[in-house]
Point group: C2
Chain length 343, copies 2
């Protein structure tokens, strides 16, 4: 019933070690031997036992995905991406949701790492921005790949995957400007988050490039939540829209949806009286009325690349993935929530 490496070795007429070499794609195996072994592997339908590999080997076949992002769509996308790579490479994935505010995160990490000796971690934002965590991992000698919001830097090319929110926000803003909007509000997330500052800077750069003066009064800081989108829209549009805002950039789709909700409350027609845009292109940007203009972020692809990068670091030279993309720029998706200004 249970097939072990020994069974394969016996059938192939080689030693256990040779089989091990074959399944690990180690060099120094004659082509002919390789084929014989693979045949045996296939006829017996052999699957190497992960526990044994993790125990015996110096490097493990388990990677971890750590997140503290409350957005279910985001997490699922990231998870699926990493998972699909893991499956292909025979790795196992351990999920580790956490709450940065909990305080005992450090202990938590250590426990996880001890329990299942991990080959490495994929860290997602905003947790991936925490230097304290990075320092800890460096100190512990744990491999990791960070998914970060921002423009790539020269250093860290082998450790980070960048999502260029700056460029995407610039593009969205330019889109609104091209529609004739001049007073554009921004409902941003927590400014502690890099994604917020990047998106904000992109927005500001676009305005500047179009010679539109910047006003802090047009910026509302929320928490990337639907509720804070509602509050933000109410705050910015106030009584009768004194600031004459004709377009509102949502820091993400949820905030944009909140703004949509608030507009409804205030009797503002979208997009006739006000354009609203989102960010991320999560499923519910298609489930609002009207559907949201947003920036599409290919989270599943991003996470696949993150996993690839991690595997490469982990296995050193064994891996030949040389073409790993490390910068992604979300791209504009125009839907019904944005339109020409009537002001």
């Amino acid at each position: 019933m249970k097939v072990t490496i020994n069974d394969v070795a016996k059938l192939a007429g080689v030693s256990m070690k040779t089989v091990s070499r074959v399944i690990n794609k180690e060099p120094s195996v004659r082509k002919k031997t390789y084929d014989i072994v693979m045949d045996a592997v296939n006829t017996l339908n052999y699957q190497p036992n992960l526990a044994a590999r993790n125990l015996a080997g110096t490097s493990s076949f388990t990677v971890g995905l750590v997140y503290d992002n409350p957005n279910a769509y985001y997490v699922i996308d990231m998870q699926n991406g990493v998972l699909s790579r893991c499956k292909e490479e025979g790795y196992e994935l351990v999920i580790h949701p956490c709450n940065y505010l909990d305080g005992n995160m450090e202990e938590d990490f250590k426990t996880m790492i001890k329990r299942s000796r991990l080959a490495g971690l994929v860290l997602t934002p905003p947790l991936s921005e925490q230097n304290s965590i990075i320092d800890m991992l460096d100190e512990m000698g744990i491999h990791y790949v960070r998914v970060l919001s921002g423009r790539p830097t020269e250093e860290n090319q082998d450790t980070c995957i960048y999502v260029n929110d700056y460029a995407a926000a610039y593009e969205i803003t330019a889109h609104l400007l091209s529609l004739g909007h001049k007073n554009i509000g921004f409902l941003c997330g927590d400014k502690e988050h890099k994604s917020t500052t990047e998106r904000l800077e992109g927005y500001q750069a676009a305005l500047k490039d179009h010679s539109i003066p910047l006003h802090d009064a047009l910026i509302y800081e929320g928490q990337y939540s639907f509720e804070s989108g509602v509050e933000g829209a109410k705050a910015l549009l106030g009584e009768n829209n004194p600031k004459n805002i004709t377009a509102l950039l949502g820091g993400n789709d949820e905030m944009a949806a909140g703004a949509l909700f608030a507009s409804r409350l205030m009797g503002i027609e979208i997009p006739q009286q006000l354009s609203i845009t989102g960010f991320e292109d999560s499923p519910f940007s298609r489930q609002t009325w009207p559907k949201l203009t947003t920036a599409h972020q290919a989270n599943d692809v991003i996470s696949q690349h993150a996993a690839r990068l991690l595997f490469r670091k982990t296995r050193g030279a064994r891996n030949q993935d040389k073409d790993i993309i490390t910068t992604f720029t979300p791209s504009l998706v125009v839907r019904e929530s944005s339109g020409p200004t009537s002001a």
Copy 2:
């Protein structure tokens, strides 16, 4: 740096095996010995190595979560629930998303089970309803717990967690009836899914109990998606609402949101002209306009219980959880999308 069971044994002045007994809560350890060992465990901050345990022991410390449900909110909730139990009990979780239509699912399962010898699986709907899968698992001798939509039966009490969608649908329907609605449409999911038929039957039972005749023409079969909610609402309300429908039950929140969207398209005011209800109380039932009346389903609690049940099966008598709830009934949450009929 790396603490093993031997280090603990040495510090405690006992044999390795005794430490093993303590961390596994086996009987036949003197209280005093237990305390000494636990002290050593704590001062060294010992964490048993999972790979070694899985390799050496007869039962493994890894459980799997299998799902083919496309709803991110649902999956995350289930995952978090199972994960939180796993953490407490020192288990590891392997995530296994799959697509029942893929065909090669059986092979897929076997591979997963071989790779990491699993203690058991938590199966979520609709995959948990597939007899072919259950049969396969039975044949392979794999432990599992199924989360199922439906009313509990006498058998299977130790293997299934039931979500009583029937009762919940009954309650929602009764709520609408109490608001004076008589022509109530139903946007149901795929009738292949048990959740659909259960919800449908609950709806029908409520109507019957209130002496309202049933009409098949009031039922639209979709796929639990936003788009099919849009289509369904259009189909049922048609041109000028010939069937005089004053309320629409959504099979889930997404379909209800779709119906909301369609109503907007058709210029129907919610809830003044039409009441719409959802099912599940997922986050975005609070992010629509107006917010959805729905049935709250405690997925995180449900999944925690599923995990508990699995652990109990796995470890036999070692576990004293005797009070595991196995039936959950979603409860009505009234929000703004339902109101008295004006017809």
